[in-house]
Subunit: 146 residues, 2 copies
DNA sequence: GTTCGTGCAAATCGTTTGCAGGAAT
DNA sequence: ATTCCTGCAAACGATTTGCACGAAC
């Protein structure tokens, strides 16, 4: 039932060891489960818990979390990468706040509504897709008085 | 009527000068209008026309083309950026070939089909969105025998 | 003539890697 | 005991910047 525990399991199932650093980074991701975080943001938050952590450990473990299927990586409009923990493996799309990185889930998938005829006509074989809405979340709207 | 000429106009309207280098880079983008090109690819193609061009000139001008609204930048899944010329300012979505970077246009917009209720409920103000389908184009499928 | 654009080299930013010691299994 | 993980420092690739000269207006 414990979310953290099932994440630990995913890591160990893949043959990765369950280290202290790994637990701390995971905890930070879980604490910010509704936000997309850049590696530097993750690093800073982890630093507050463990002063003796290296940036390369962050990168190496983010990569491992991706492999274990417990995190996702998003290439944002500005060209930077951000990461977010994923609990349910289901396929979802997002509304992303351009100010704070908060992510809200959209429960419909536009891809399912597309007429397959367009792929047949072009001879294109679709493999994956991306649907993201960028804007401003309620909290940031109130704060910034837009 | 000439496409190149109207691109020149866009550049000059913004107060940028119409230089030889700028024309060459534009020509390369126009010649590859159906493809997303990485800066390094653009650089190589420009080199064939003008041996005396610097990489920084490519970057500086791509930025200017973005400002002038005649090119678009796409942050791909691998974290790299690619560029493409845009003729019509209309809003379109794309199918992108993961092998050759070929871009085919999708003429429906999934955003329009979304129920606005979800934004009202979350208090989210949408500003822009992205819908991209990644896969393999006909040519690459034939060539690689997938 | 003034402003802007360019090549060059160096700087910067985000990310990755080799290695040697330390921790998890 | 073995394998994996980590900090450190260095390397790396993509992109940006300061400068002095040259080109467009």
């Amino acid at each position: 039932m414990n979310k953290l525990y099932s994440l630990y399991e995913c890591i160990q199932e893949k043959g990765y060891k369950l280290t202290e650093k790994r637990k701390i980074i995971l905890q930070v991701l879980v604490d910010n489960k509704d936000y997309l975080l850049e590696p530097s943001e993750i690093f800073e938050k982890v630093l507050k818990v463990d002063k003796n952590i290296n940036f390369s450990t962050i990168y190496r473990n983010l990569e491992i979390f991706l492999n274990a299927g417990i995190a996702k990586k998003v290439s944002l409009e500005n060209g930077k990468s951000s990461y977010q923990i994923i609990f349910e493996k289901e396929h979802v799309h997002s509304m992303i706040c351009k100010i704070c990185g908060r992510v809200e889930v959209i429960n419909t998938c536009p891809f399912e509504k597309i007429d397959n005829e367009i792929f047949e006509k072009k001879g294109f074989l679709p493999e994956s897709h991306k649907f993201e809405i960028y804007g401003f979340c309620k909290e940031c709207l109130l704060e910034k008085n837009f």
